[in-house]
């Protein structure tokens, strides 16, 4: 509800008055509420505005931008990160083009469903928010490197998008298809090794580390969650007991405690020389923890598929594995997309706990450390740094949420 009716302009003054009367001042109580909350809102807006544009000391962000984004990543190897960003952009564009070409080939999407203009518009509508934040980061940066990287990345993404259909259109044999899909899957893994051979995991930091922990855990926890959900419904008693026990055990422990355990108690079981690095341990804990929650969400999805679906799948002669893979699981997963994405967003934000529990130098640790720097000490600038961290987290989380709604809509085509 808008609290400022005069935004409608003088030309519509009478209309605005009628509107305000009807919506804001219908009864004395309405009028009091409107005035009280209007005043509070205006005060909040004024305070926010003055913090962002007047009193905020944003030079602390400008000076420490690099530390916030990538932590203490050694200077000499930053180029590898730039190459990785460009590589991932090209890869993403290629994948988008490839998938669309495959969909057109299989007849699921018609080539002339939408015009090119409409599709570009759609892409802009999807990406404008993260793009604005990236632009803000570029403006804050003091060197030309990020600008060049992002510029090349955009070109690479467009090139990849143009090349993707060339690989997706032709019909390949099963061998060719497997090679191509394997190749596509190998690109991010290859880029990871390209970076990690130069700079070990434990030297990564900043928002890069949060993103990386989250992406790894998300990719790994999903299949594990599906397996646990199926295991809990298995007819084999051993599988069922193990799955149920695992889920209940992990869900009963706070994530923070599990992270602390992985950090300190692991030494009781594994000799130090064999113990994985701290960041690897964090990924393992996040994966194992979230998988237990995903399993319960997916189990709910499995239960939401009507029994008639399984009976129909049986009646046409599908084997038990195919009943699950082609009929039950696709419907189950689609039915619980909102809950799944909620869990993954939660996982993404919880990566900050790895900083507190394990001493990893992720974004939150950076934001709480830099106000104590020489030159900023004692000036109470933590508000600025925390606000900046909040903006980054919110941007990614909100983008995930929007993409999930889009996915839900697309998968729900023609379903009652």
């Amino acid at each position: 509800m808008s609290l400022t009716p005069d935004r409608l302009g003088a030309a519509h003054r009478s209309g605005a008055l009628v509107w305000a009367r009807r919506n804001l001042f219908r009864s004395p109580v309405d009028g009091v509420l409107t005035i009280v909350f209007g005043a509070i809102s205006l005060w909040l807006i004024y305070k926010t505005f003055s913090f962002v544009f007047i009193t905020g000391r944003w030079d602390i962000i400008r000076v420490n931008l690099r530390l916030l984004m990538i932590g203490r990543f050694p200077d000499v190897h930053v180029l590898r990160l730039a190459v990785t960003v460009v590589g991932l952009a090209a890869w993403g564009g290629f994948l988008a083009g490839f998938i669309r070409a495959r969909q057109i080939r299989s007849g699921r999407v018609s080539d002339d469903d939408e015009s090119v203009v409409a599709r570009v518009g759609d892409t802009v509508a999807r990406l404008w928010l993260p793009a604005m934040v990236v632009l803000l980061l570029l403006v804050l940066s003091s060197t030309s490197g990020p600008w060049i990287t992002v510029g090349i990345a955009i070109v690479a993404a467009i090139l990849g998008r143009a090349l993707g259909p060339l690989a997706g259109r032709p019909k390949l044999g099963p061998m060719g298809s497997a090679l191509l899909i394997g190749g596509i899957g190998a690109v991010p893994v290859g880029l990871y090794f390209y970076v990690v051979t130069a700079v070990g995991f434990d030297d990564w930091g900043g928002f890069l580390l949060n993103l990386f922990l989250a992406v790894c855990a998300i990719v790994l926890c999903f299949p594990l969650g599906v397996l646990l959900a199926l295991g809990r419904r298995s007819t084999l008693p051993l599988v069922r007991v193990v799955s149920t026990g695992y889920i209940e055990l992990v869900r009963g422990a706070p994530l923070f405690v599990l992270l602390l355990l992985a950090n300190s108690a692991l030494g009781f079981f594994v000799p130090n020389s064999l113990a994985p690095s701290t960041s690897t341990r964090a990924i393992i804990v996040f994966t194992l923890f979230t998988a237990a929650y995903m399993a319960e969400i997916i189990r709910g999805g499995l239960q939401s598929v009507p029994r008639g679906q399984i009976e129909a799948a049986k009646a046409v002669g599908l084997s038990p594995a195919r009943q699950m893979g082609y009929i039950v699981l696709p419907q189950a997963l689609r039915n619980v997309i909102p809950a799944q994405i909620g869990q993954l967003i939660s996982l993404f934000k919880d990566t900050t706990l790895a900083g507190i529990a394990m001493g990893l130098f992720e974004l939150l640790q950076v934001t709480t450390a830099i106000p104590a720097q020489e030159g900023f000490r004692g000036q109470g600038l933590i508000g600025e740094t925390i606000t900046f961290a909040a903006l980054l987290f919110w941007t990614v989380a909100y983008t995930m949420s929007r993409e999930s709604q889009r996915l839900e809509k697309r998968l729900g085509v023609g379903v009652r």
């Binding site: 009976e311 129909a312 046409v316 419907q331």
Partner: protein, 267 residues
């Protein structure tokens, strides 16, 4: 139990009728002494029924009489507790391979359609031929389109089940079963969930199927269909087969009191 069947001189009335039918005389489905319990409740008691190849058998009876349970035992959606069920010479056992073999040869149409909502109409039909019969995609899709033409809705191939009317959905479900080229079709109250104006389009499809020589067992409350299409009518009550006969015998001159009572209630 084993040496009771397969003999040429069937002595029960149930079996004797089969020889008089349009069917070829060779048994497609045999149920012998089939019992089924849900807990302590006896859902089926000593069911004996032989259905000849190309025969159309309509099963009627009050709700809760075990009609659906009986045909669901034939493709093992329910497990029977005693007796024998033989489909096209293969006896139903607990072996999953054997069960799937029988399900491949047995199509089933459900009261609530049970189409796969996440697949297009054509994919609903081609899934099993591709994955179970291992047909190449193109062959399966040609087959699927032929089936859709048979049920007279080829133009709906690209749509999703949720976009179709109930009658259209049920015809897709019939096409989905037929695409597996089954030897038997089981219908479990196929028109009970339909709006009245859609019942006939489904019944017409079933009539054409019967005329083409398909072996069919149909559980229904459509007495007109039973009278017109059935070779034999089976009347069930309280989990038992009470009476079996031709439609003429059944509707004009039933012999059992239980049947007369039921008919007086519905006609």
């Amino acid at each position: 139990m084993t040496d009771q069947h397969d003999d040429t001189h069937d002595d029960t009335a149930v079996f004797a009728d089969a020889t008089a039918m349009r069917g070829t005389g060779t048994a497609m489905i045999e149920l012998e002494g089939v019992d089924k319990f849900f807990g302590d409740f006896r859902a089926l008691g000593d069911i004996n029924l032989k259905v000849a190849s190309q025969e159309v058998v309509v099963v009627i009876g009050p709700s809760g009489s075990g009609k659906s349970t009986m045909i669901r035992c034939i493709n093992r959606l329910e497990e029977h507790d005693a007796g024998r069920i033989v489909v096209d010479g293969t006896e139903l056992s607990n072996d999953i391979r054997n069960i799937q073999e029988i399900r491949r040869e047995t199509g089933m149409v459900f009261q609530s359609f049970n189409l796969f909502p996440h697949l297009s109409v054509l994919d609903n039909i081609t899934l099993a031929p591709r994955k179970v019969r291992k047909l190449p995609k193109r062959v399966a899709e040609e087959l699927g389109m032929a089936m859709l033409e048979m049920v007279k809705i080829p133009e709906q191939a690209g749509k999703y089940p949720g976009q179709l009317s109930g009658g259209q959905q049920q015809r897709v479900a019939i096409a989905r079963s037929l695409a597996m080229k089954p030897k038997v079709m089981l219908f479990d109250e196929p028109t009970s969930a339909l709006d009245p104006e859609m019942i006939n389009e489904v019944l017409d499809t079933m009539k054409e199927l019967a005329a083409s020589g398909m072996t069919m067992i149909v559980v229904t409350h459509e007495m007109g269909f039973a009278r017109e299409v059935a070779d034999r009518v089976v009347f069930m009550a309280d989990g038992q087969i009470v009476e079996v006969g031709t439609p003429e015998h059944f509707f004009e001159n039933p012999s059992e009191d239980r049947t007369k009572l039921f008919l007086s209630q519905i006609l």
